[in-house]
Subunit: 401 residues, 2 copies
Amino acid sequence: MDRFDTSLDELRVGGLPLSLLAERVGQTPFYAYDRSLIAARAAAVRRLLPQGVGLHYAIKANPMPALVGFMRSLVDGMDVASSGELKLALDAGADARTIGFAGPGKRNGELRQAVASGVLLHVESVRELQVLADTAQALGRPARVALRVNPDFELRGAGMRMGGGAKPFGMDAEQVPAVLRGLVNEGLVFEGFHLYAGSQSLRGSAVAESLHRSLDLVLRLADEVPAPVRHVNLGGGWGIPYFSGEAALDLDPVVEALAQVQGALQRTLPAAQLVLELGRYLVGEAGIYVARVIDRKVSRGQVFLVTDGGMHQHLAASGNFGQVVRRNYPVVIGTRLQAKEREIASVVGPLCTPLDVLADHVDLAVAQPGDLVVVFQSGAYGATASPQAFLGHPPCPEVLV
Amino acid sequence: MDRFDTSLDELRVGGLPLSLLAERVGQTPFYAYDRSLIAARAAAVRRLLPQGVGLHYAIKANPMPALVGFMRSLVDGMDVASSGELKLALDAGADARTIGFAGPGKRNGELRQAVASGVLLHVESVRELQVLADTAQALGRPARVALRVNPDFELRGAGMRMGGGAKPFGMDAEQVPAVLRGLVNEGLVFEGFHLYAGSQSLRGSAVAESLHRSLDLVLRLADEVPAPVRHVNLGGGWGIPYFSGEAALDLDPVVEALAQVQGALQRTLPAAQLVLELGRYLVGEAGIYVARVIDRKVSRGQVFLVTDGGMHQHLAASGNFGQVVRRNYPVVIGTRLQAKEREIASVVGPLCTPLDVLADHVDLAVAQPGDLVVVFQSGAYGATASPQAFLGHPPCPEVLV
């Protein structure tokens, strides 16, 4: 919350008091993303990165078209996970040469679109290689490929583990040498590797360790490559704090590891660019979800603020997006920041289901119908990661301010 | 699965072999709802209901327009939870007099649309009553109201508890007498009560007990009503089995309780119609979700069938819709029903997240790319209860066959 300005009782977003922004949007609920916060975060990351390391934006975190367009000026490339996201990146003006396309279940048509576009394919299986070779021949265009490797280690302390053990992502590290040796097809242009151990990690030392181990794995695999390694995408996994008691990611060990990895790559694989792929870390803390209090009810002693927003638009805040135990996102009454009267209240949505909870038993300013509830840390995995059609409520606008 | 016909190796849906249906739809994934199974289920429920009990369809379970239109001929009314669902019901030709509108966060505009439409409002708060009185005056039309009561008991054995304790739904039972006494406004027409203790119960005795206790509560409250009770909606809560080891709801005690409740109502509140509101129970078992195997991978000994469908289209099957512990929906390879070769495999989707799992370590026919995976029990809380925009994949068609 302290990232956002305030004026008297109101939060300010993109320079506007919250209630004025709501009037500008013309309805509640809505998502608002603050471009100055996004730019500041991207600049801060850039300052920390060793020279030459590429910074990519993972569109899946927030694919709002205007935001993707804004990101284009802040990063060196985009990573997409479907042909829909590929279209978004291209529409935003991203250079196809700087776009990477990952995803464990790419359809043949998607692979064809990707080859036609000239983007780098993060290849997840031997089948994809076969389809790409055929496609390259059919289109008379090379298929640029990087192998996505399922590492033989996990990112410790990650919110979600994407590598290590048996996984549907990429090819197991131990299978990769044979794949590389078979990679002699004139349609396929080998460019490098993609490793992604996990996401939403708040432990800098774990991210750093993962970088070191990823480098070791890449160096081992590099013995078998059919062409110089030009591209090494080591993912991201940088988390943001969502819940009480969580601290921001300590970047010191990460930056140190990046410098060491970059140095080692320059010595051993001088043609390779190290690429860092961040989504949530770039945009997550720059966004809020805003809903209006419709009703204030007291049921058997418990205060409920019933809002026009809910789980259909912010599934993660309702605790139904991968969480095992529901915890509260940071929430305030954005129109009563200075109120002295406070109370324990629960913020719920308009759906007829007990799952529709935005905040459970939190300390809030005493609110009334008309007040605006703000859910922070909502710039990533919000609108598109939610079942918006559920119960037939209107779609939720997103604004970039 | 034994509800659906088969022909040789293929499941049949709506009289069509699955692979032919997929060709007719023109793409995968898709949802298919079998109208003969829905009609048979509705007829079976009708046969069990005591004469005079109204059967309503809760649109939230599945709002596909064609299905809502089909349901209209099978039930006596519709229950809606938003102005979007209200439009669906009216578009389907439902008589406004038979539509009920419930929801804890109805916006003023929605209340106005409801009054303009002439539907029965299930009033959830004193604020709603005030808005409705004003709206009725402004429009020169009466607002038909039933009070939604948060009972002083819970539905034992329910998948989700909607009543009892502190809840955002309805008004606490103990507050209702005072509300009823204040309900003297020429714009408001009192018609009855709505009680809904919980949903997705598989224990007939618990549903029966809930009916009895709901009746007792209605009879207590009826002492204070300003006009004859004409409408008593006791919800539904009838569950369907999803997971291994779950048995179908035993309806014997439910039917017995309904007969007793109906008898008691006829004796004491002769103008009242008892209404049963079912959603999932009517349509849930008549629907399947169909996805195509895109890739078959073995990672460190584990078989993964990567499909073009996943959590973005079937959130509940991925275990991210209110479940605490993920369990597998019933799944088969719908194009290899007679295959003797079987294996333990996991079915995953195309998303770059470990949450995207449709079935984890299940016994399946050995499948290859091109085969069709079928997820049963998918006729309710499927397409609209899923984050379809997540990762930019195409929307999922639904067909009623």
